[in-house]
């Protein structure tokens, strides 16, 4: 293969903050004291706060060094399945930082917060348009909170009809957040298995759907990267028994401008702005998980809602059937600014193009690697494809070994061991922002690794060799938790 991306750079060691501080240093410019001191009662105050004392230079070097031990989308290809690690445009970061937005207090009178309200109102309309739904709440702070909100809406809907249902259908291909979000509403999840094509069948759903079941949670495209082709029929079965269809839109990046979730029979859907709409994941967040609903669920959306009258925007609490609030204020506004900026920069045509190219990249990856790794379901995929380590079993090489070895080749590994329905799953989501030459380099690395698995398996078991640390003892970490220094 061509020269590998992976190499060893100049990576410096760096101690923990408190191993570094020296008493008497400070990294903060204390504001001028222009008022007298008014001591508090001694009984109320602390003697000493034990935080390390560092200079500004100490701080800057500390975090610069730490950052260099991290791999991000800006470093290289990050094909983490189900996570949509696409490029995060820099201009969007700038917009979230403009003082008018970044310094705005959430309880400012509406007359001095029109810009933020207008942006939120417009973003709601954009997301409704993209999903084919009628109304949107931007309040949920992340996908899992969007799911919880969706479940609360379904719960409120049934309650308003004087019904209390106790179950919800969750397919075995669902994200783990689905059953745990449902449980918060007191619903017990009823599992249904996907069929041999990786699809949810209408018969399987009909077999479990009854009038004590609140609805179904469907991820579409599902976590195998396949479009649930029976979605409309499934929705009809669920609706016929008075249930509702929840769509997990975590994988919406595959179908913007292509599928209409409203037409497909979905009643409520959450989006992840930090996946589909290009906002960065920040090493774990913040995200944003708007919920999009059909008209029948709109009365229950969280408050306050942004409403417009003659070009003036206000935050209205006047929705008596609302489920209430899921966030102290309006959700992660800073993330909304970035998503709004992305949609304005892309427009309709480029959003659709992004989905087409995301699906092109995944199908290309599937074709190029299907002799190298075992392909779990050989069907046309959407934005991601799922392999397994079956071909490597004779050499006693596992998915984990290959994932770790990919690091030495300069790639972030794909998602591994998920979805649970595929043993030793390797879930690859390249996203649309990876070029063909980067995909080819990744494919070459995978082929080289599969070859090493046969020729030199020990090398894989010893990987990674080029990172800041070697494989870490996760068992010891859990057995004897050391969670603070």
């Amino acid at each position: 293969m061509k020269e590998s991306l992976g190499t060893t750079g100049l990576i410096l060691n760096e101690p923990l903050l408190w191993e570094k501080g020296r008493r008497g240093r400070s990294g903060f410019s204390q504001p001028r004291r222009d008022v007298d001191s008014r001591p508090l009662d001694k009984g109320l105050t602390l003697d000493e706060l034990d935080l390390p004392d560092l200079s500004e230079v100490d701080i800057v070097r500390h975090y610069t060094r730490l950052s260099q031990w991290n791999f991000g989308v800006d470093t290289g290809m990050y094909p983490l399945g189900s996570c949509t690690m696409k490029y995060n445009p820099k201009i969007n970061e700038k917009q979230a930082r403009v003082p008018g937005f970044a310094a705005a207090h959430p309880l400012l009178p509406p007359v001095v917060s029109q810009g933020a309200l207008k942006l939120m109102h417009a973003l709601e309309r954009f997301l409704a348009e993209i999903t084919g739904m009628d109304a949107v709440s931007l309040q949920p702070a992340a996908g899992a909170q969007g799911e919880l909100t969706g479940m609360l809406l379904i719960h409120a809907f049934h309650k308003s009809k004087g019904m209390r249902r106790s179950k919800i259908i969750v397919p075995d291909t669902a994200h783990g957040t689905n059953p745990s979000s449902a449980a918060l509403c007191g619903y017990s999840p009823v599992p249904v298995r996907s069929n041999e094509q990786g699809m949810l069948s209408a018969e399987a759903v009909a077999g479990v759907m009854d009038e004590d079941t609140a609805g179904i949670m469907v991820t579409n495209p599902n976590t195998l990267g396949l479009f649930e082709e029976n979605i409309r029929e499934i929705a009809e079965i669920v609706h016929a028994k008075g249930g509702l269809v929840y769509g997990d839109g975590a994988n919406m990046n595959a179908v913007m401008g292509i599928a209409d979730m409203g037409r497909a029979g979905v009643d409520v859907l959450h989006l992840n702005l930090h996946k589909t709409f290009s906002t960065p994941h920040g090493g774990g967040g913040p995200g944003s998980g708007p919920v999009c609903v059909k008209t029948k669920l709109e009365p229950y959306l969280p408050v306050p809602r942004v409403t417009e009258e003659k070009g003036r925007y206000i935050l209205s609490e006047d929705f008596p059937e609302s489920i209430g609030k899921v966030h102290a204020f309006y959700g992660n506004f800073g993330v909304m600014v970035k998503a709004y900026s992305y949609i304005r920069s892309m427009g309709a045509e480029n959003l659709k193009r992004a989905s087409q190219l995301a699906v092109l990249n995944a199908n290309y990856m599937k074709e190029m690697l299907k002799g190298t790794f075992h392909l779990a379901y050989d069907r046309p995929c959407m934005h991601e494809c799922v392999f397994s380590d079956k071909f490597q079993h004779p050499y006693k090489i596992l998915t984990l070994d290959m994932a770790k070895r990919l690091m030495d080749y300069g790639f972030h590994p794909p998602t591994v061991y998920f979805p649970l329905v595929v043993d030793g799953a390797i879930m690859i989501e390249p996203t649309e922002t990876e070029s063909k030459e980067d995909l080819d380099l990744f494919v070459e690395a995978c082929k080289a690794i599969a070859n090493e698995a046969q020729q030199d398996p020990e090398r894989l078991r010893q990987a990674p060799q080029k990172c800041k640390v070697r494989r870490l003892d996760e068992t010891a970490a859990a057995r004897h938790p050391c969670l603070a220094g």
Partner: protein, 443 residues
């Protein structure tokens, strides 16, 4: 489009490998009756330069510092943020990485989160802190759910002086499962009346915020004693963590779980989010905690490293039996908070907290001198309640026209407190700013 790298030739070559004739053909598995009809109705794409102009226009309508002097706190606080923190926070290795599932490529985030957990635990006087939740409100809801799970009891008591919007989030989270929520009234002095607790049984938790929504410092030790006498967990909530640079921390006063909003620690206000849900507890409850935890371990060579740990509590392993449904949290905001705490250090944070206290005391005194009534005499941190004349809303509008936002009217939250305003003065308000406010309100 500059974010999409594919050339026409590459697309053609890739389609050939896949065996399709066009991009549209890739979607053959999407049934006709699920297809989007027509094209998305969205505005035409704009250039980077047009976007700058658009956003500068929208953001210019906002009432923000330095043009506006905003005297509102109430769960979102204006503090100076060191440029070093803002600058470091744009390092794209931090910004563009995912949750650190692959520790060998994520040691930066992992060590930083371990440090954040440690500094948070020290600030709050607790043994263990998680790697963040969404915000102060959902952190309180999660704390209550954790107490219910831990004690296997289903009634919780909340102070009515906990941020009213947090209490509404709690109601939303706990509503469908039918847990019993009791509200503790307030005393004349602006702190929580605990007498109701006497007659309550089956109590999982008592939750009190300090400084409370009126800015008043609660007697947490007394709350802890009353809660523990009922075998309930004591949850201490907060909206202003800077206060614990100066005040006795909740851990030293018997709190079992401490949770709140960390926005004050170097995070921009951003119209209310993203902020930072801070969450800490005693070590004995750690296996019931929500959210991610980073732990220290060693690698194959015996070298120190960090990993996500105790994952068996979490949704991706435990599914419907998980301690929480949270997956994505507010990691980058936790990173900002760690950088901010490290920049201030213990003594710097105390000095800044003192300054916040003293600024608001100055404003309080000046308003008192001007004839206003300070509603509660209990010591406060950087905000307090003032009773204003019945026509003050007119003065408020007049001040707004002069680009001064004179606090928050409490009437929507506490109807009995009509004409009462919650005012906040942090280190960002100079003596002149405060004098100008007082001058304007009496003129």
């Amino acid at each position: 489009m500059r974010y999409l790298p594919h050339t026409a030739d590459e697309i053609a070559a890739m389609l050939e490998v896949i065996g399709k004739n066009s991009l549209d053909e890739l979607f053959s598995t999407v049934p006709e009756d699920c297809r989007y009809q027509g094209n998305l109705n969205l505005p035409e794409p704009i250039s980077e330069w047009e976007l700058n102009e658009l956003m500068s226009g929208l953001s210019a309508t906002m009432g923000v510092s330095p043009e506006y002097k905003v005297f509102i706190g109430a769960g979102s606080y204006e503090h100076f943020i060191p440029e070093s923190v803002s600058f470091l926070l744009t390092r794209s290795e931090f910004v563009t990485s995912y949750t650190p599932y692959q520790p060998e490529l994520s040691q930066g985030t992992l060590q930083a989160m371990y440090e954040y957990q440690t500094l948070t635990a020290r600030l709050l006087g607790m043994e263990v802190a998680n790697a963040s939740l969404y915000d102060g409100a959902s952190a309180l809801a999660e704390a209550l759910l954790m107490a219910i799970r831990t004690t296997r009891k289903n009634r919780v008591a909340l102070s009515s002086l906990i941020h009213p919007l947090y209490r509404r989030v709690v109601q939303t989270y706990l509503g469908p499962t039918g847990y019993d929520l009791i509200e503790l009234p307030r005393l004349e002095n602006g702190t929580t009346d605990l007498s109701l607790l006497e007659d309550l049984d089956n109590l999982a938790a008592v939750a009190v915020q300090s400084p409370n929504f009126y800015g008043c410092i609660e007697d947490l030790e007394a709350v802890g004693e009353r809660a523990h006498a009922k075998d309930a967990l004591f949850i201490a909530s907060f909206t202003e963590p800077l206060a614990y640079g100066l005040l006795k921390n909740p851990g030293s006063q018997g709190a079992d779980i401490v949770c709140g909003e960390g926005q004050s620690l170097g995070i921009p206000q951003s119209f209310g989010g993203p902020g930072l849900g801070m969450f800490a507890s005693r070590m004995k409850y750690v296996r019931g905690m929500p959210g991610r935890l980073v732990g220290q371990t060693t690698d194959l060579n015996g070298k120190r490293g960090f990993v996500l740990t105790l994952a068996t509590r979490e949704q991706h392993i435990r599914r419907e039996k998980a301690t929480s449904n949270i997956c994505t949290n507010n990691s980058l905001c936790a990173l900002a908070a760690a950088m901010y705490m490290a920049s201030l250090g213990g003594r710097g944070m105390r000095e800044l907290a003192l300054l916040n206290h003293d600024k608001s005391e100055y404003l309080k005194e000046e308003l008192r001198k001007a004839g206003f009534t300070i509603s509660f005499e209990t010591p406060t941190f950087n905000e307090f309640v003032v009773e204003c004349p019945t026509d003050f809303h007119r003065t408020y509008e007049h001040l707004l026209a002069k680009k001064i936002v004179a606090g928050l009217s409490l009437e929507p939250y506490y109807p009995e407190l009509a004409h009462h305003y919650l005012l906040c003065a942090t280190e960002t308000k100079s003596k002149e700013d405060m004098d100008a406010l007082v001058r304007e309100v009496i003129s």
